[in-house]
Protein backbone atom coordinates (compact mmCIF):
# COMPACT_ATOMS: atom_id res chain seq x y z
CA UNK A 1 0.00 0.00 0.00
CA UNK A 2 2.79 2.32 0.97
CA UNK A 3 4.74 1.44 -2.21
CA UNK A 4 1.65 2.13 -4.26
CA UNK A 5 1.22 5.52 -2.65
CA UNK A 6 4.79 6.52 -3.37
CA UNK A 7 4.45 5.30 -6.96
CA UNK A 8 1.44 7.55 -7.36
CA UNK A 9 3.37 10.38 -5.72
CA UNK A 10 6.26 9.86 -8.12
CA UNK A 11 3.91 9.83 -11.08
CA UNK A 12 2.28 13.01 -9.80
CA UNK A 13 5.66 14.70 -9.53
CA UNK A 14 6.62 13.51 -13.00
CA UNK A 15 3.33 14.85 -14.34
CA UNK A 16 3.79 18.12 -12.53
CA UNK A 17 7.25 18.52 -14.05
CA UNK A 18 5.94 17.66 -17.49
CA UNK A 19 2.98 19.98 -16.95
CA UNK A 20 5.18 22.87 -15.95
CA UNK A 21 7.35 22.19 -18.97
CA UNK A 22 4.32 22.29 -21.25
CA UNK A 23 2.99 25.46 -19.69
CA UNK A 24 6.36 27.18 -19.82
CA UNK A 25 6.74 26.21 -23.48
CA UNK A 26 3.33 27.61 -24.38
CA UNK A 27 4.03 30.74 -22.41
CA UNK A 28 7.33 31.44 -24.14
CA UNK A 29 5.84 30.84 -27.58
CA UNK A 30 3.06 33.39 -27.17
CA UNK A 31 5.37 36.16 -25.93
CA UNK A 32 7.38 38.84 -27.64
CA UNK A 33 11.10 38.48 -26.83
CA UNK A 34 11.19 42.04 -25.39
CA UNK A 35 8.29 41.03 -23.16
CA UNK A 36 10.33 38.23 -21.63
CA UNK A 37 13.10 40.71 -20.96
CA UNK A 38 10.74 43.14 -19.22
CA UNK A 39 9.30 40.36 -17.09
CA UNK A 40 12.77 39.17 -16.13
CA UNK A 41 13.71 42.72 -15.14
CA UNK A 42 10.56 43.01 -13.02
CA UNK A 43 11.38 39.68 -11.36
CA UNK A 44 14.93 40.87 -10.64
CA UNK A 45 13.55 44.07 -9.10
CA UNK A 46 11.12 42.07 -6.94
CA UNK A 47 13.91 39.81 -5.68
CA UNK A 48 16.04 42.87 -4.97
CA UNK A 49 13.45 44.65 -2.83
CA UNK A 50 12.16 41.62 -0.93
CA UNK A 51 15.04 41.50 1.54
CA UNK A 52 13.45 41.50 5.02
CA UNK A 53 16.50 43.17 6.59
CA UNK A 54 16.01 46.23 4.44
CA UNK A 55 12.19 46.28 4.48
CA UNK A 56 11.11 49.60 6.05
CA UNK A 57 7.78 47.92 6.93
CA UNK A 58 9.49 46.52 10.01
CA UNK A 59 9.75 50.07 11.38
CA UNK A 60 5.92 50.07 11.35
CA UNK A 61 5.97 46.74 13.19
CA UNK A 62 8.11 48.29 15.94
CA UNK A 63 5.89 51.36 16.21
CA UNK A 64 2.83 49.08 16.29
CA UNK A 65 4.28 47.16 19.22
CA UNK A 66 4.61 50.41 21.18
CA UNK A 67 1.07 51.49 20.25
CA UNK A 68 -0.30 48.15 21.41
CA UNK A 69 1.00 48.75 24.95
CA UNK A 70 0.46 52.53 24.99
CA UNK A 71 -2.03 53.69 27.62
CA UNK A 72 -4.49 56.16 26.17
CA UNK A 73 -8.15 57.11 25.89
CA UNK A 74 -10.47 58.24 28.69
CA UNK A 75 -9.69 55.02 30.58
CA UNK A 76 -5.92 55.41 30.14
CA UNK A 77 -5.40 51.72 29.38
CA UNK A 78 -3.49 49.90 26.65
CA UNK A 79 -4.91 47.60 23.98
CA UNK A 80 -3.23 44.61 25.63
CA UNK A 81 -6.52 43.06 26.74
CA UNK A 82 -8.15 43.47 23.33
CA UNK A 83 -9.55 40.14 22.09
CA UNK A 84 -8.70 39.63 18.44
CA UNK A 85 -10.64 36.36 18.35
CA UNK A 86 -8.39 33.88 20.12
CA UNK A 87 -8.53 35.36 23.61
CA UNK A 88 -7.74 38.71 25.28
CA UNK A 89 -4.27 39.94 24.35
CA UNK A 90 -3.43 36.84 22.31
CA UNK A 91 -1.64 37.82 19.14
CA UNK A 92 0.11 34.74 17.75
CA UNK A 93 -2.00 33.47 14.85
CA UNK A 94 -4.86 35.93 15.39
CA UNK A 95 -4.43 37.60 11.98
CA UNK A 96 -4.50 34.22 10.18
CA UNK A 97 -8.10 33.78 11.39
CA UNK A 98 -9.44 37.22 10.55
CA UNK A 99 -11.99 38.46 9.59
CA UNK A 100 -14.23 36.52 12.00
CA UNK A 101 -17.44 36.82 14.01
CA UNK A 102 -17.22 38.58 17.38
CA UNK A 103 -20.08 37.83 19.77
CA UNK A 104 -19.50 40.98 21.86
CA UNK A 105 -19.93 43.19 18.80
CA UNK A 106 -22.51 40.91 17.16
CA UNK A 107 -20.78 41.13 13.79
CA UNK A 108 -17.94 39.94 11.58
CA UNK A 109 -14.90 42.22 11.73
CA UNK A 110 -11.56 42.48 10.03
CA UNK A 111 -8.48 43.48 12.05
CA UNK A 112 -8.93 47.20 11.49
CA UNK A 113 -12.61 47.17 12.50
CA UNK A 114 -11.70 45.14 15.56
CA UNK A 115 -8.93 47.51 16.60
CA UNK A 116 -11.30 50.48 16.29
CA UNK A 117 -13.82 48.54 18.38
CA UNK A 118 -11.24 47.91 21.10
CA UNK A 119 -10.09 51.53 21.07
CA UNK A 120 -13.68 52.67 21.56
CA UNK A 121 -14.83 50.07 24.07
CA UNK A 122 -11.65 49.33 26.06
CA UNK A 123 -9.77 52.60 25.95
CA UNK A 124 -12.74 54.92 25.36
CA UNK A 125 -10.53 56.63 22.81
CA UNK A 126 -12.08 59.08 20.39
CA UNK A 127 -11.07 57.37 17.13
CA UNK A 128 -11.70 60.44 14.95
CA UNK A 129 -8.01 61.29 14.76
CA UNK A 130 -6.97 57.65 14.27
CA UNK A 131 -9.43 57.36 11.37
CA UNK A 132 -8.27 60.66 9.89
CA UNK A 133 -4.74 59.17 9.81
CA UNK A 134 -5.94 55.77 8.54
CA UNK A 135 -3.54 55.98 5.56
CA UNK A 136 -0.09 57.42 6.14
CA UNK A 137 1.47 60.07 3.92
CA UNK A 138 4.30 62.55 3.99
CA UNK A 139 4.50 63.81 7.59
CA UNK A 140 1.54 61.69 8.66
CA UNK A 141 2.00 58.36 10.45
CA UNK A 142 -0.88 55.90 10.67
CA UNK A 143 -1.56 54.11 13.96
CA UNK A 144 -3.69 51.61 12.06
CA UNK A 145 -0.96 50.70 9.56
CA UNK A 146 1.53 50.34 12.43
CA UNK A 147 -0.79 48.20 14.57
CA UNK A 148 -1.80 46.00 11.62
CA UNK A 149 1.87 45.54 10.73
CA UNK A 150 2.72 44.49 14.28
CA UNK A 151 -0.25 42.16 14.74
CA UNK A 152 -0.13 40.58 11.27
CA UNK A 153 3.57 39.92 11.72
CA UNK A 154 2.63 37.69 14.69
CA UNK A 155 1.01 35.34 12.15
CA UNK A 156 4.03 35.24 9.84
CA UNK A 157 4.91 31.69 8.87
CA UNK A 158 1.35 30.52 9.60
CA UNK A 159 -1.36 29.46 7.19
CA UNK A 160 -4.49 31.43 6.31
CA UNK A 161 -7.47 29.87 8.10
CA UNK A 162 -10.71 31.48 6.90
CA UNK A 163 -13.45 31.49 9.53
CA UNK A 164 -16.75 30.61 7.92
CA UNK A 165 -18.60 28.41 10.42
CA UNK A 166 -20.83 31.07 12.01
CA UNK A 167 -23.96 32.02 9.99
CA UNK A 168 -22.82 35.66 9.99
CA UNK A 169 -19.45 34.60 8.58
CA UNK A 170 -21.24 32.61 5.88
CA UNK A 171 -23.36 35.63 5.07
CA UNK A 172 -20.23 37.78 4.74
CA UNK A 173 -18.66 35.21 2.41
CA UNK A 174 -21.74 35.27 0.16
CA UNK A 175 -22.00 39.05 0.20
CA UNK A 176 -18.27 39.38 -0.49
CA UNK A 177 -18.49 37.04 -3.46
CA UNK A 178 -21.51 38.92 -4.83
CA UNK A 179 -19.71 42.26 -4.43
CA UNK A 180 -16.67 40.82 -6.22
CA UNK A 181 -18.79 40.21 -9.34
CA UNK A 182 -20.98 43.34 -9.09
CA UNK A 183 -20.50 45.70 -12.06
CA UNK A 184 -21.02 49.43 -11.69
CA UNK A 185 -19.81 52.99 -12.33
CA UNK A 186 -18.58 54.72 -15.49
CA UNK A 187 -16.28 51.85 -16.50
CA UNK A 188 -18.81 49.05 -15.88
CA UNK A 189 -16.08 47.28 -13.89
CA UNK A 190 -16.32 44.71 -11.15
CA UNK A 191 -13.39 43.24 -9.24
CA UNK A 192 -13.77 40.24 -11.55
CA UNK A 193 -13.08 42.36 -14.66
CA UNK A 194 -9.40 42.21 -13.75
CA UNK A 195 -9.18 39.37 -11.24
CA UNK A 196 -11.09 36.41 -12.66
CA UNK A 197 -8.70 34.92 -15.20
CA UNK A 198 -5.25 33.39 -15.01
CA UNK A 199 -2.10 35.09 -16.27
CA UNK A 200 -3.62 38.42 -17.30
CA UNK A 201 -1.91 41.80 -16.99
CA UNK A 202 -2.76 45.50 -16.88
CA UNK A 203 0.11 47.06 -18.79
CA UNK A 204 2.96 44.93 -17.37
CA UNK A 205 1.39 44.39 -13.96
CA UNK A 206 0.31 40.80 -13.34
CA UNK A 207 -3.23 40.36 -11.97
CA UNK A 208 -3.98 37.71 -9.33
CA UNK A 209 -6.98 35.52 -10.15
CA UNK A 210 -9.44 35.49 -7.24
CA UNK A 211 -12.22 33.63 -9.05
CA UNK A 212 -10.92 30.33 -7.77
CA UNK A 213 -9.04 29.14 -4.72
CA UNK A 214 -5.33 28.63 -5.19
CA UNK A 215 -1.83 29.96 -5.50
CA UNK A 216 -2.58 33.44 -6.86
CA UNK A 217 -5.04 34.23 -4.07
CA UNK A 218 -2.77 32.60 -1.46
CA UNK A 219 0.32 34.54 -2.49
CA UNK A 220 -1.62 37.81 -2.60
CA UNK A 221 -3.47 37.52 0.69
CA UNK A 222 -0.41 36.03 2.40
CA UNK A 223 1.63 39.12 1.52
CA UNK A 224 -0.59 41.89 2.94
CA UNK A 225 0.06 44.15 4.80
CA UNK A 226 2.98 45.24 2.69
CA UNK A 227 5.50 48.05 2.38
CA UNK A 228 4.85 49.73 -0.98
CA UNK A 229 8.03 51.11 -2.45
CA UNK A 230 6.13 53.32 -4.92
CA UNK A 231 4.25 54.97 -2.04
CA UNK A 232 7.05 54.76 0.57
CA UNK A 233 4.45 53.54 3.08
CA UNK A 234 3.12 50.46 4.78
CA UNK A 235 -0.31 49.56 3.39
CA UNK A 236 -3.09 47.28 4.61
CA UNK A 237 -5.82 45.41 2.71
CA UNK A 238 -8.22 48.27 3.53
CA UNK A 239 -5.94 50.57 1.51
CA UNK A 240 -5.54 48.04 -1.31
CA UNK A 241 -9.32 47.77 -1.76
CA UNK A 242 -9.70 51.57 -1.54
CA UNK A 243 -7.07 51.83 -4.28
CA UNK A 244 -8.82 49.21 -6.44
CA UNK A 245 -12.10 51.14 -6.27
CA UNK A 246 -10.19 54.31 -7.19
CA UNK A 247 -8.89 52.62 -10.33
CA UNK A 248 -12.37 51.26 -11.06
CA UNK A 249 -13.63 54.89 -11.00
CA UNK A 250 -15.92 54.09 -8.11
CA UNK A 251 -16.31 56.58 -5.26
CA UNK A 252 -14.05 56.03 -2.24
CA UNK A 253 -15.45 53.25 -0.05
CA UNK A 254 -15.85 54.12 3.63
CA UNK A 255 -12.92 53.04 5.76
CA UNK A 256 -13.55 49.90 7.86
CA UNK A 257 -17.01 49.43 6.32
CA UNK A 258 -18.72 46.05 6.30
CA UNK A 259 -18.62 45.67 2.51
CA UNK A 260 -14.81 45.75 2.51
CA UNK A 261 -14.77 43.16 5.27
CA UNK A 262 -17.14 40.98 3.22
CA UNK A 263 -14.77 41.19 0.24
CA UNK A 264 -11.86 40.33 2.52
CA UNK A 265 -13.72 37.26 3.84
CA UNK A 266 -14.25 36.11 0.24
CA UNK A 267 -10.61 36.68 -0.71
CA UNK A 268 -9.31 34.95 2.44
CA UNK A 269 -11.55 31.98 1.58
CA UNK A 270 -9.94 31.77 -1.87
CA UNK A 271 -6.53 32.05 -0.17
CA UNK A 272 -7.17 29.28 2.36
CA UNK A 273 -3.94 27.50 3.35
CA UNK A 274 -1.69 30.20 1.95
CA UNK A 275 1.37 31.06 3.98
CA UNK A 276 1.50 34.48 5.62
CA UNK A 277 4.81 36.33 5.26
CA UNK A 278 4.31 39.89 6.43
CA UNK A 279 5.00 42.68 6.22
CA UNK A 280 6.10 41.96 2.69
CA UNK A 281 7.53 44.51 0.31
CA UNK A 282 6.06 45.31 -3.09
CA UNK A 283 6.48 47.77 -5.91
Amino acid sequence: MRIRTSAIAALTVACAVLGVGLLAGGHAQGQQPEQDLSEKEIERYRAMISDPMSNPGFLNVDRGEQLWSLKRGAKNVSLETCDLGIGPGKLEGAYAKLPRYFADAGKVMDLEQRLLYCMTSLQELDTKDVIARRFSGPGRVSDMEDLVGFIANKSSGMKIEPQISHPKEQEMLSVGEAMFYRRSAVMDFSCATCHAAEGKRIRLQGLPDFSKPGKAAQETMGSWPTYRVSQSQMRTMQHRLWDCYRQMRMPAPDYASDGLTALTVFMMKQAQGGEITVPSIKR
Binding site: L11, S174, S184, R203, M250, G259
Partner: protein, 207 residues
Protein backbone atom coordinates in the same frame (compact mmCIF):
# COMPACT_ATOMS: atom_id res chain seq x y z
CA UNK B 1 5.11 7.45 -24.50
CA UNK B 2 2.66 5.45 -22.41
CA UNK B 3 3.82 7.34 -19.39
CA UNK B 4 3.19 10.66 -21.10
CA UNK B 5 -0.26 9.42 -22.09
CA UNK B 6 -1.00 8.46 -18.50
CA UNK B 7 0.24 11.82 -17.38
CA UNK B 8 -2.00 13.60 -19.84
CA UNK B 9 -4.92 11.46 -18.69
CA UNK B 10 -4.15 12.22 -15.06
CA UNK B 11 -3.63 15.87 -15.92
CA UNK B 12 -6.94 16.08 -17.81
CA UNK B 13 -8.67 14.49 -14.86
CA UNK B 14 -7.31 17.30 -12.70
CA UNK B 15 -8.49 19.85 -15.21
CA UNK B 16 -11.96 18.29 -15.09
CA UNK B 17 -11.99 18.07 -11.31
CA UNK B 18 -10.55 21.53 -10.68
CA UNK B 19 -13.62 23.60 -11.66
CA UNK B 20 -15.88 21.36 -9.57
CA UNK B 21 -13.74 22.08 -6.52
CA UNK B 22 -13.52 25.76 -7.40
CA UNK B 23 -17.27 26.03 -7.60
CA UNK B 24 -18.08 25.10 -4.03
CA UNK B 25 -20.03 28.35 -4.00
CA UNK B 26 -20.88 30.48 -1.02
CA UNK B 27 -24.45 30.05 0.18
CA UNK B 28 -27.01 31.98 -1.86
CA UNK B 29 -27.63 35.49 -0.74
CA UNK B 30 -30.57 37.82 -1.25
CA UNK B 31 -29.58 40.55 -3.77
CA UNK B 32 -31.29 43.08 -1.49
CA UNK B 33 -28.89 42.10 1.30
CA UNK B 34 -25.93 42.68 -1.03
CA UNK B 35 -27.28 46.11 -1.97
CA UNK B 36 -27.64 46.96 1.73
CA UNK B 37 -23.93 46.19 2.20
CA UNK B 38 -23.07 48.24 -0.89
CA UNK B 39 -25.09 51.18 0.43
CA UNK B 40 -23.31 50.96 3.80
CA UNK B 41 -19.90 50.81 2.14
CA UNK B 42 -20.52 54.06 0.24
CA UNK B 43 -22.59 55.72 2.97
CA UNK B 44 -20.49 58.92 2.89
CA UNK B 45 -20.75 59.21 -0.89
CA UNK B 46 -23.01 62.03 -1.99
CA UNK B 47 -23.88 64.14 -5.02
CA UNK B 48 -22.85 63.15 -8.54
CA UNK B 49 -20.61 60.35 -7.29
CA UNK B 50 -23.55 58.56 -5.74
CA UNK B 51 -24.86 57.63 -9.20
CA UNK B 52 -21.74 55.53 -9.83
CA UNK B 53 -22.63 53.19 -6.98
CA UNK B 54 -26.07 52.28 -8.29
CA UNK B 55 -26.28 49.87 -11.21
CA UNK B 56 -28.12 50.66 -14.43
CA UNK B 57 -30.39 48.03 -15.98
CA UNK B 58 -27.61 46.60 -18.14
CA UNK B 59 -25.07 46.38 -15.31
CA UNK B 60 -27.70 44.60 -13.22
CA UNK B 61 -28.49 42.13 -16.01
CA UNK B 62 -24.80 41.44 -16.69
CA UNK B 63 -24.05 40.89 -13.00
CA UNK B 64 -27.05 38.58 -12.60
CA UNK B 65 -26.18 36.52 -15.70
CA UNK B 66 -22.47 36.35 -14.84
CA UNK B 67 -21.82 38.27 -18.08
CA UNK B 68 -23.28 35.48 -20.18
CA UNK B 69 -26.77 36.66 -21.13
CA UNK B 70 -28.67 34.28 -23.37
CA UNK B 71 -31.81 34.33 -25.53
CA UNK B 72 -34.17 37.23 -25.07
CA UNK B 73 -31.95 38.91 -22.47
CA UNK B 74 -29.02 38.98 -24.92
CA UNK B 75 -31.21 40.63 -27.58
CA UNK B 76 -32.71 43.07 -25.08
CA UNK B 77 -29.31 44.32 -23.96
CA UNK B 78 -27.93 44.54 -27.52
CA UNK B 79 -31.02 46.42 -28.77
CA UNK B 80 -31.13 48.80 -25.82
CA UNK B 81 -27.41 49.62 -26.05
CA UNK B 82 -27.46 49.89 -29.86
CA UNK B 83 -30.33 52.37 -29.70
CA UNK B 84 -28.25 54.52 -27.33
CA UNK B 85 -25.25 54.89 -29.67
CA UNK B 86 -24.84 58.49 -30.85
CA UNK B 87 -22.82 58.86 -34.05
CA UNK B 88 -21.16 62.17 -35.02
CA UNK B 89 -23.74 64.43 -36.66
CA UNK B 90 -21.73 64.69 -39.89
CA UNK B 91 -21.22 60.93 -40.03
CA UNK B 92 -17.40 61.26 -39.94
CA UNK B 93 -15.93 58.75 -37.49
CA UNK B 94 -12.22 59.28 -38.28
CA UNK B 95 -10.39 61.95 -36.26
CA UNK B 96 -6.69 62.63 -35.75
CA UNK B 97 -4.65 59.47 -35.17
CA UNK B 98 -1.87 61.35 -33.38
CA UNK B 99 -4.31 62.65 -30.79
CA UNK B 100 -5.81 59.15 -30.68
CA UNK B 101 -2.40 57.79 -29.64
CA UNK B 102 -2.55 60.07 -26.58
CA UNK B 103 -6.06 58.90 -25.70
CA UNK B 104 -4.89 55.29 -26.00
CA UNK B 105 -1.80 55.88 -23.84
CA UNK B 106 -3.19 57.98 -21.03
CA UNK B 107 -5.00 56.45 -18.07
CA UNK B 108 -5.81 59.48 -15.99
CA UNK B 109 -9.12 61.03 -15.05
CA UNK B 110 -12.38 60.12 -13.40
CA UNK B 111 -10.79 58.77 -10.20
CA UNK B 112 -11.82 60.05 -6.79
CA UNK B 113 -8.32 61.44 -6.32
CA UNK B 114 -8.50 63.38 -9.62
CA UNK B 115 -9.77 66.91 -10.16
CA UNK B 116 -13.00 67.25 -12.12
CA UNK B 117 -11.01 68.76 -15.03
CA UNK B 118 -8.22 66.13 -15.05
CA UNK B 119 -7.64 64.86 -18.61
CA UNK B 120 -9.60 61.67 -19.20
CA UNK B 121 -7.69 59.04 -21.13
CA UNK B 122 -9.05 55.90 -22.75
CA UNK B 123 -6.18 53.83 -21.29
CA UNK B 124 -6.51 51.35 -24.20
CA UNK B 125 -2.98 50.03 -23.60
CA UNK B 126 -3.97 48.90 -20.10
CA UNK B 127 -5.77 45.98 -21.78
CA UNK B 128 -4.75 45.89 -25.47
CA UNK B 129 -1.62 45.66 -27.53
CA UNK B 130 -1.77 48.34 -30.27
CA UNK B 131 1.45 49.76 -31.72
CA UNK B 132 4.28 47.20 -31.77
CA UNK B 133 6.59 49.94 -30.47
CA UNK B 134 4.78 50.06 -27.12
CA UNK B 135 5.87 47.01 -25.12
CA UNK B 136 3.98 47.98 -21.97
CA UNK B 137 0.51 46.69 -22.82
CA UNK B 138 -2.04 44.59 -20.96
CA UNK B 139 -3.64 41.33 -21.98
CA UNK B 140 -7.22 41.53 -20.69
CA UNK B 141 -8.37 42.39 -24.22
CA UNK B 142 -7.22 41.06 -27.60
CA UNK B 143 -4.28 42.56 -29.49
CA UNK B 144 -5.37 45.36 -31.81
CA UNK B 145 -2.09 45.52 -33.69
CA UNK B 146 -2.77 45.83 -37.42
CA UNK B 147 -6.45 46.51 -36.73
CA UNK B 148 -7.14 48.89 -39.61
CA UNK B 149 -5.20 46.78 -42.08
CA UNK B 150 -7.09 43.70 -40.94
CA UNK B 151 -10.35 45.52 -41.67
CA UNK B 152 -9.06 46.69 -45.07
CA UNK B 153 -9.28 50.35 -43.90
CA UNK B 154 -12.98 49.99 -44.74
CA UNK B 155 -15.27 52.97 -43.93
CA UNK B 156 -18.22 50.81 -42.87
CA UNK B 157 -15.91 48.83 -40.55
CA UNK B 158 -14.60 52.05 -39.03
CA UNK B 159 -18.19 53.08 -38.27
CA UNK B 160 -18.72 49.76 -36.47
CA UNK B 161 -15.54 50.36 -34.49
CA UNK B 162 -16.82 53.80 -33.45
CA UNK B 163 -19.99 52.12 -32.15
CA UNK B 164 -17.92 49.47 -30.35
CA UNK B 165 -15.86 52.08 -28.49
CA UNK B 166 -18.88 54.30 -27.84
CA UNK B 167 -20.84 51.37 -26.46
CA UNK B 168 -19.14 47.96 -26.43
CA UNK B 169 -22.37 46.27 -25.38
CA UNK B 170 -24.14 47.37 -28.55
CA UNK B 171 -21.88 44.81 -30.24
CA UNK B 172 -21.36 42.27 -27.45
CA UNK B 173 -23.80 42.37 -24.52
CA UNK B 174 -21.94 42.25 -21.19
CA UNK B 175 -18.57 42.83 -22.83
CA UNK B 176 -15.87 43.56 -20.24
CA UNK B 177 -14.90 46.71 -22.14
CA UNK B 178 -16.19 50.03 -20.80
CA UNK B 179 -18.97 51.86 -22.66
CA UNK B 180 -16.77 54.93 -23.13
CA UNK B 181 -19.23 57.18 -24.95
CA UNK B 182 -22.40 55.90 -23.37
CA UNK B 183 -21.07 56.56 -19.87
CA UNK B 184 -19.71 59.96 -21.04
CA UNK B 185 -16.17 59.03 -20.05
CA UNK B 186 -14.65 59.98 -23.43
CA UNK B 187 -15.87 62.73 -25.73
CA UNK B 188 -17.06 62.17 -29.29
CA UNK B 189 -13.84 63.78 -30.53
CA UNK B 190 -11.66 61.47 -28.43
CA UNK B 191 -13.47 58.39 -29.74
CA UNK B 192 -13.02 59.60 -33.33
CA UNK B 193 -9.31 60.09 -32.64
CA UNK B 194 -9.00 56.54 -31.32
CA UNK B 195 -10.84 55.19 -34.39
CA UNK B 196 -8.30 57.07 -36.53
CA UNK B 197 -5.45 55.61 -34.45
CA UNK B 198 -6.83 52.17 -35.31
CA UNK B 199 -7.66 52.87 -38.97
CA UNK B 200 -5.17 55.39 -40.37
CA UNK B 201 -2.65 53.64 -42.65
CA UNK B 202 0.00 56.02 -41.22
CA UNK B 203 -0.79 55.04 -37.61
CA UNK B 204 1.86 52.90 -35.86
CA UNK B 205 -0.97 50.46 -35.11
CA UNK B 206 -0.88 49.47 -38.78
CA UNK B 207 2.90 49.46 -39.17
Amino acid sequence: MNRIKTCILVASAFVLIAPAVAQSPAPKVDPAAVEAFVAATWKSTTGEWRARVDQDETQKACTASNNEPTGVLFDQIRDRESAAVVFPADGKVLGDWKKGAQVAQRGTGGQFTDQANTYRGGNCYACHQMSKAEVSYGTLGPSLNGYGKLHRFDAAEARKTYAKIYNSMSVLPCSQMPRFGHNKFLSEEQIKDVVAYLYDPESPVNK
